[in-house]
């Protein structure tokens, strides 16, 4: 908060103060001559008016700096003042996070490459990402010393994987794998480069409006005893981190998707089990792993995903060759989840309910893929898995003895993701410009905001297109195709299509498919719009 001094006062502020003081003094002491040029006016009234105006402005500034509502009206509120007020609610303003990921760089020969500190890569729109310290890349790299392995699939072309961090804390730096990226300075032997993984974790600083909206959660009591309290506790802990909790669904005693409290002979619900389904992503996020696969039969390999490799992963997005960046995949034959870690604190009994471990941080995965045109006994594969970032941190938090409920077993889960595809024809009047990319982004953003709701309808999406300037939308069955697919907790892929994607139509509590466990999501490329001029 800056200090207001006399020079900060305006003529209008002084005049107002002076008129007020003259009026007050004349009312109380009408025999005092306060005209211009009198000693009383020049030596008494004028200094008093300046001090009164100064005090008034300082009081106004204090009131503004201690009111979140007034701070939110400022174009650039002082973050120190904001956090000073928020501290009264045990909150701080999220200052934002930079997206991180890995770029695949192809080079033309087997040699030692030296990457300078802060080597920067840029996307076509100009988003910049920087590397770390001075790094050497070579075959047989000493990774413990920070060197990067120079890889080859065929002994002819070579590549390496270089971690990058976004230049700014902004959500727009979250880009999908496969995005073209070019170095801003030359690399000897450079051929090409692109994003090897999704760049994720980028987050804008919280706005004051968002902080004000979360105050009710901050004031809620903090025990993990009811839905509001659980939501408040998790938001309070993670809102200032790069684990963004977009939505929470709590399944407890009596809820359809709560099976863990029925581990008894009669299958009756006995309570004391809470499943916390947390959406920690807006766009679906995938974790990229390089996994050793074991040959099991002709063209078939088996891969193992460890418990800490991708905690609580939802489903396999793709399995392909290590140097592949395209979203193509060998056919996934099976994806079996097992209990891969001690669950001493939690009731997870897959013999009674096979779904107990699915989507939790205690699951491991065994993936079998076919169609691999090689016969190596072991082979590296690139594996992309849909995950909920931060799940392990959230589970560790609710397990903390100082936080954990003494009466309930709280288990954190990755939600079931219904991946939505949209294909439609929209019409525009002659002269009206429709930005197709912007429309696709609007639809993706809307779909990704739909969490733990039962339905997603064509009319909701059509309304967005109309509001954006389309004159009409083809809502015929073939003109507007809406579909979604999700993997239930038993490993079956289910498909929805039609005018409404209604989770209730595929309701299956035994497979944990309920409106309270499913979120809708869309990825870039899943929205296909055809624009016709009328």
């Amino acid at each position: 908060m800056s200090i207001i001094v006399f020079n900060d006062l305006t003529q209008a502020q002084f005049d107002s103060a002076e008129q007020l003081i003259i009026s007050k003094v004349r009312t109380g002491y009408p025999q005092l001559d306060l005209r211009t040029g009198t000693v009383l006016r020049e030596q008494l009234i004028r200094p008093a008016a300046e001090l009164y105006a100064l005090d008034g402005e300082r009081m106004t500034a204090i009131a503004q700096d201690t009111s979140l509502l007034e701070l939110s009206k400022q174009s650039d509120p002082d973050p120190v003042s904001v956090n000073a007020v928020l501290s009264n609610f045990n909150m701080t303003l999220n200052t934002g996070f930079s997206a991180t990921g890995t770029v695949l760089v192809r080079v033309n020969a087997n040699r030692v490459y030296t990457l300078p500190a802060g080597l920067t890569f840029s996307t076509l729109p100009g988003l910049k990402y920087a590397g770390g310290t001075l790094t050497r890349v070579r075959v047989g790299a000493n990774t413990s010393a920070g060197e990067i392995e120079l890889r080859t699939a065929d002994g002819i072309s070579y590549y390496f994987l270089y971690p990058l961090i976004a230049a700014a804390e902004d959500i727009e730096y979250n880009i999908p794998a496969g995005t073209a990226m070019d170095p801003t300075s030359s690399i000897y032997g450079y051929v090409s480069s692109s994003a090897y993984t999704d760049f994720t974790g980028g987050l804008n600083a919280s706005t004051l409006t968002e902080a004000i909206a979360s105050i009710p959660d901050a004031l809620t009591h903090r025990a993990l005893t009811d839905r509001n309290a659980i939501s408040a506790r998790l938001h309070g802990e993670f809102d200032s981190t790069n684990t963004v909790i977009q939505d929470i669904s709590v399944q407890g005693y009596g809820d359809d998707a709560q099976l863990r409290d029925k581990h008894n002979l009669m299958g009756w619900a006995v309570g004391a089990r809470v499943d916390i389904w947390v959406r920690t992503f807006t766009n679906p996020v995938s974790t990229t792993l390089i996994v050793d696969g074991t040959w099991v039969s002709a063209n078939t390999y088996q891969l193992t995903v460890g418990v800490s490799d991708a905690p609580g992963y939802y489903a396999v997005r793709s399995v392909c060759e290590v140097d592949s960046v395209a979203i193509s995949s060998y056919p996934v034959v099976t994806d079996i989840r097992t209990v891969a870690a001690s669950t001493a604190n939690h009731d997870i009994d897959v013999t009674r309910s096979p779904t107990d471990v699915v989507g939790t941080v205690y699951q491991g995965g065994t993936i079998v893929v076919s169609g691999v045109p090689y016969a190596d006994s072991t082979r590296e594969f690139r594996v992309d898995l849909y995950t909920a970032p931060g799940l392990a941190s959230i589970q560790a938090f609710v397990d903390d003895r100082s936080v954990a409920s003494v009466g309930s077993d709280c288990l954190v889960r990755c939600p079931l993701i219904c991946l939505v595809d949209v294909s439609t024809t929209i019409y525009r009047k002659s002269g009206v410009v429709l930005d197709v990319t912007a429309l696709q982004t609007q639809l993706i953003n809307y779909i990704n905001s739909r969490s733990f709701t039962q339905r997603l309808t064509r009319s909701e999406l059509a309304n967005i297109l109309i509001q954006a300037g389309a004159s009409r939308v083809d809502l015929t069955t073939t003109g507007f195709q809406l579909s979604g697919r999700l993997r239930d907790a038993l490993g079956n892929w289910l498909t929805l299509q039609g005018d409404v994607l209604d989770i209730q139509t595929i309701f299956n509590a035994a497979a944990l498919v309920t409106p309270q466990t499913v979120v809708f999501a869309a990825i870039p490329g899943s929205i296909n719009l055809t624009v016709v001029t009328e």
Binding site: R26, L32, R35, G37, L40, E42
Partner: protein
């Protein structure tokens, strides 16, 4: 003109704090000095208040008063900048300064709603620079100003007093 000195006729008068030296006997030409306002404060009304007010505005430099940059006159800035090199220039500068001061006084006096009305013997109708001299050795400028009040010859001179009535 007969001026009768009195200290009792403050009833109904608006008062100011004395700034110039107390003039007990108002007869004849008086030399005025800044009085000991802090140690011996007195209140003034009537002619002395008006003359004091005029003098304060005349000797205040334009632009010196924060939030009242147009208050004062150009007389002192002219002296300080060496602009007055002869008596003719002194008379010229005085006329300009006097006009400005009288305009300010009349503007303030005209706001009867805020400040109330004035008796005639406090209203300066005109001023005249009756004598002026420059002592180049001591650097002292002497101005003799004749004031004409609205009451004409019937002026009651109120001697500054130490207590508020």
């Amino acid at each position: 003109m007969t001026i009768r000195a009195t200290s009792i006729d403050y009833a109904g008068r608006q008062v100011d704090v004395e700034l110039l030296q107390t003039v007990v006997d108002p007869q004849g030409t008086q030399e005025v000095l800044v009085s000991n306002v802090a140690t011996q404060p007195k209140i003034v009304a009537g002619v002395q208040k008006s003359l004091q007010r005029y003098t304060l505005l005349l000797l205040t430099s334009l632009g010196d008063v924060h939030f009242a940059l147009d208050e004062g006159s150009s007389l002192m800035p002219a002296f300080n900048s060496g602009q007055i090199s002869n008596k003719n220039m002194l008379q010229y500068i005085f006329v300009l300064a006097n006009t400005r001061v009288m305009q300010a006084i009349r503007a303030s006096d005209g706001d009867v709603e805020t400040f109330g009305s004035q008796p005639d013997d406090e209203k300066i109708t005109s001023t005249e620079l009756s004598a002026y001299d420059i002592n180049y050795q001591t650097g002292v400028v002497t101005l003799t100003i004749k004031f004409t009040m609205a009451s004409g010859s019937a002026i009651t001179y109120l001697i500054p007093v130490a207590t508020v009535r």
